[in-house]
């Protein structure tokens, strides 16, 4: 590749052609402030509108300042990143942005984690000249089951739009209006509820301000915990343990499973369980479904629906209900681990401890915002009582722990309660892309071939490539597996299936980049994709450390089937652990 020589702040530097000034400066250790720019390396997500104009620098020979995030270097370029002219411009632009931004930082959900707040501190903004005469753009507050849009706080960085349209191809959001009143919104500025939004929460995950945040359910959880008539149990999703530590300043990728359990117990949960238990259960049901369809296929049944698609990601379920309703009989009917957990908890476990369904409160800790919506779906409740009462995100758990004045980093490690706290390594890897299908493969292989796997690590299924595929030798039968994370990638696979081009037998789909580790409810990555990689590593480490690594070997799962469900896909299992899907393509403004 061609190398370009240039000078930045008096220092010579050589970078490949096509490098931006911002990146070239980084190689010199010069950190030019950025606001709207976002580069999730390795995931192919770059937001580069050049809109905020905070990153402007002086380039010799140019009339105007250049935005360093979006200007490529050229041979002999002389760049100055912090002249008086640059600093004045940067400060004035920041004052402008703040002049159209609410000042309720103290009570803002993003306080302390806000890129805009950080930038105001960095630039030493102490007052906004002329604020008293400055009109602010205001928009209607939009509260959906998962996400709150408080667009008064939008700074038009367009990151959410990039995630929603380019990466997820959901198309719920677009920049609307023009000029001062321009904002990112669903069609007709309706609420997200009336849009094709999947609640994947990727808009929230990248929003630099408090414009997009999760609906806060921590108050409901506190109320439940303080109600003496209620038995409150909690389940924690696999990806939470690999990220929660970040809320307390721990290095990304630090596993905090034990501390998390202790913290939850300290908060007052009567039983601290693990969604991983339900993940093992999912594998039993979904794996059996796969084997069933595969058996029919091998027997020559032409009508069998293959590939089978995983169904544990609620944003993905919302996505195909909106966009591919004609294919709603392809995904597995297995409920997600969160819902399987709730369903078993409010039947099997409630009976065990002799608590009435209404008096048992199930809380889930999820890396996900779509889970908030999922647990509110009508089909997951019995006589109006939901299987899972409240779903809170990893971030909300962080708030709860801080609120309770628990010194998280100093907590001892404790174990989950039994029976629904026991899990295998196969369940843990549900938290990262490729994990569900790897777990399913471990079980399905052994059930199909009757042989025991010597090596359970299917490395070919791992990685961060948006679409991956692998062929596994299933005792002579080549099982073709596809994996996609990100709904845009999922869409490609679905279009292939629709067009009859798909060769896969099974496909795993996760809505978020990296799978649940990159979920919309996780600690904010602030545009640093190495954080996601560290979390994935932690997940695989936990898997390796487990003695049991195949779902069908989980003794409490075996017991559950013996005592309660019978066998996978039994009538009872169908009733409690499976679901059906809806056509939501018309669920918009009018048609």
């Amino acid at each position: 590749m061609d190398q370009i020589k240039l000078t930045i702040d008096g220092k010579a530097v050589e970078v490949p052609k096509g490098t931006t000034i911002y990146k070239a400066a980084k190689t010199l250790g010069i950190d030019i402030p950025i606001l709207c720019y976002m580069d999730l390396k390795g995931l192919n997500i770059e937001n580069k509108p050049g809109g905020c104009r905070i990153c402007v620098v002086e380039v010799e020979g140019r009339r105007n300042l250049a935005s360093s995030c979006s200007t490529d270097v050229s041979e002999g370029m002389v760049v100055k990143t912090s002249t008086i002219r640059v600093l004045n411009a940067r400060r004035t632009v920041m004052e402008l942005i703040l002049s159209d931004h609410p000042k309720d930082c103290l009570t803002c959900a993003k306080s302390g984690k806000c890129d805009l707040q950080d930038m105001a501190i960095k630039l030493g903004i102490r007052n906004i000249p002329g604020q008293e005469f400055a009109e602010m753009s205001t928009y209607r507050l939009d509260t959906s089951p998962s996400i709150i849009r408080e667009m008064d706080k939008c700074i038009m960085c367009r990151r959410c739009e990039t995630m929603c349209n380019d990466f997820q191809t959901v198309g719920a959001l677009s920049a609307v209006n023009r000029g001062f009143m321009s904002v990112v919104a669903p069609a007709f500025e309706m609420n997200l509820e009336h849009s094709p939004c999947t609640y994947c929460g990727q808009c929230v995950a990248v929003c630099p301000t408090g414009a997009l945040t999760e609906v806060d359910h921590t108050r409901n959880v506190i109320a439940a915990l303080s109600d003496p008539t209620k038995t409150v149990i909690v389940q924690t999703a696999p990806a939470v343990r690999a990220a929660l530590g970040e809320e307390f300043g721990l290095e990304p990728g630090t596993l905090v499973t034990g501390k998390m359990v202790t913290a939850l117990r300290t908060l007052g949960f009567d039983y601290v369980f693990d969604t991983d238990f339900a993940a093992d259960l999912t594998i039993m049901e979904e794996g059996s479904e796969l084997l069933g369809r595969l058996g029919k296929f091998l027997a020559g049944d032409k009508d069998v629906k293959l590939p089978i698609l995983t169904s544990c990601c609620p944003a993905w379920v919302n996505f195909f209900e909106h966009n591919f309703p004609d294919m709603k009989d392809i995904p597995s009917t297995a409920r997600s681990p969160q819902q399987m957990f709730g369903s078993i908890a409010k039947t099997y476990f409630a009976d065990k401890i002799g608590v009435k369904r209404e008096d048992l409160i199930v809380v889930s800790i999820m890396p996900c915002l779509a889970k908030k919506y999922e647990c509110q779906r009508d089909e997951f409740s019995v006589d109006g009582n939901p299987d899972v009462d409240f779903s809170i995100s990893t971030r909300e758990l962080g708030f709860l722990i801080k609120q309770a004045n628990i010194q998280f980093n100093g907590l001892p490690d404790e174990d989950f309660d039994k029976p629904m706290g026991e899990s295998t390594g196969a369940a843990v890897i549900f938290g990262t892309t490729g994990g569900v299908i790897e777990a399913a493969t471990r079980t399905a292989f052994e059930l199909h071939t009757g042989k025991s796997l010597s090596n359970v690590d299917f490395k070919e299924l791992r990685g961060l490539e948006g679409i991956r595929h692998a062929t596994i030798d299933f005792g002579g039968f080549p099982l073709k597996i596809g994996i996609a994370h990100g709904l845009g990638n999922a869409r490609k696979l679905l279009e292939d299936i629709k067009a009859g081009r798909s060769e896969f037998h099974a496909i795993e789909i996760m809505a978020c980049p990296g799978g649940c580790i990159g979920g919309g409810g996780q600690p904010l990555h602030h545009g640093d994709s190495t954080i996601l990689k560290a979390r994935a590593k932690a997940i695989y480490a936990e898997d390796t450390s487990k003695t049991l690594r195949k779902s069908h070997e989980n003794p409490y799962i075996i017991k559950l089937y013996e005592e309660f469900l019978g066998k996978p896909l039994s009538e009872k299992a169908h009733h409690l652990l499976h679901t059906h899907y809806f056509d939501k393509s018309k669920n918009t403004f009018s048609i």
Binding site: S70, D72, L96, S99, D100, A134, F180
Partner: protein
Amino acid sequence: MSKYSMHLLVCGGTGCRASASDAIVENLKTELEAKGLSDTVQVIMTGCFGFCEKGPIVKVSPDNTFYVQVKPEDARKIVEEHVIKGRKVRELLYVDPKANEVIEDSKHMGFYKKQIRIALRNCGFINPEILDEYISRDGYLALGKALTEMTPEEVIKEIKASGLRGRGGAGFPTGLKWELSRQSQSDKKYVVCNADEGDPGAFMDRSILEGDPHSVLEAMAICGYCIGADTGLVYIRAEYPLAIQRLKVAISQAREYGLLGKDIFGTGFNFDIELKYGAGAFVCGEETALIHSMEGHRGEPTLKPPFPSVSGYLGKPTNVNNVETFANIPVILLKGSAWFSSIGTEKSKGTKVFALAGKINNVGLIEVPMGTTLREVIFEIGGGIKNGRKFKAVQTGGPSGGCLTEKHLDLPIDYESLVANGSMMGSGGMIVLDEDDCMVSIAKYFLDFTVEESCGKCSPCRIGNKRLYELLDKICKGNGVADDLTRLKNLGLVIKDTSLCGLGQSSPNPVLSTLENFMVEYTEHVHDKKCRAGECKALMTYSILEEHCVGCTACARACPVGAITGERKQLHVINPAICIKCGACLEKCKFDAVIVQ
């Protein structure tokens, strides 16, 4: 046929009229009558000759004698000497100031060289809906010449040598643009004509498309030949129905003649043109925004580079020029680059079309060589200021431009001189302002426009222009403080310096240039709470003149807030603390007793 053998044409333009051309007509008629000549010599009042500086004007036809600064009493002399004896009245003849020569035949007057119509050469001459009329004026000859006698490189060389620069704004050299587009390697390229004239008060491009659509089509085909494109797209404002209709007619006629389509002039060159419609967004005049709009997106600009010549419409190399630029091309090829570059100034060649409007007598479309002074345009071609008011400023370049003042009147107009003085060529709107125009309000007007037209993508333009507007509004409402003037300037400079596209980079110009040239008006608004033009209502005070007031009570009854007190047949008084300055009393008073200061 005519019974008259001689005509005396007296200028009836507003300027001359003010200096007694009516009396001249009257006197001429009386003189002719007295001499018994009223049946053979006709006196006619005409429109403006556009030479108001030397008015009143009397022209004698058929010998083209041009008398200047004629006084009513000169009528006798003209009749006795010129009409009867055939001797010209020498002291009334125009003296060329440069050569110090008396001009006898007005055809030799420099004045008539003030306007040269190149881009407008066919406007008003041909029927735009009949291709034959265009052909009769050498239409499509330049395309034929290019295709059959020249290589694309030779054509580009010719355009480069002509010195033609983009007429839509910043003045990028057209030949160089074509060369860059030619150099881009691609299987598909596009030629785009930017006909999204969005400058409020400019209509040059529309007039060309309505009056001479083929010249643009021909030039686009030439451009296609040069850069290697077979498709042309005209991006035109949907608000221009007539221009759209004439373009459609022109395209279909050119196709019928084989001047568009396949194998043009039997050379194997294919080129066809489609229309794309704008939908009312000023920012779409910016190339990248225009391209996004053509692709069906919001017309938001993106950073350049990459330039459209490398990656434009649908990611393909795209050459964008505006209507007036294209309209110049065929003439350059037919008459040669040397001819073209002999017109204009050192760096700005050829002519420029301006839409002259505002407080000027001859509102109109004019085309002058680059380097013509503002004075010539305003006071000669434009016929001076309406209603004999005093000239204050001229705004060029629309919302991206600035206000030039008295001291700039002798400035030769070209790209560089306008920019150096805080304005710009822009697309060619030229709005003349008089003493009744408040410069702060004018700046506010343009900012209002920019705020409405900002796409909202980058923060300096989205929020900064809004803040500029608010500051100006505050000043106009009498709430300005000294600090606001400093803030206006800093904010303006930062918006210019940091905005993403040309709209934001030039939007503060109306503020900055008025600050520069009319600081005293700003300080009057801020410190003295006074608007000398009387435009800022909030800064006016209403009072009643004792000597005129008859105590009729009409004003008190009209006042909606009860600010006026006074008994019948007694002096009435306005309480300034209650007065909302609505002007109702002023309207009602029959005795001119209410005054506004």
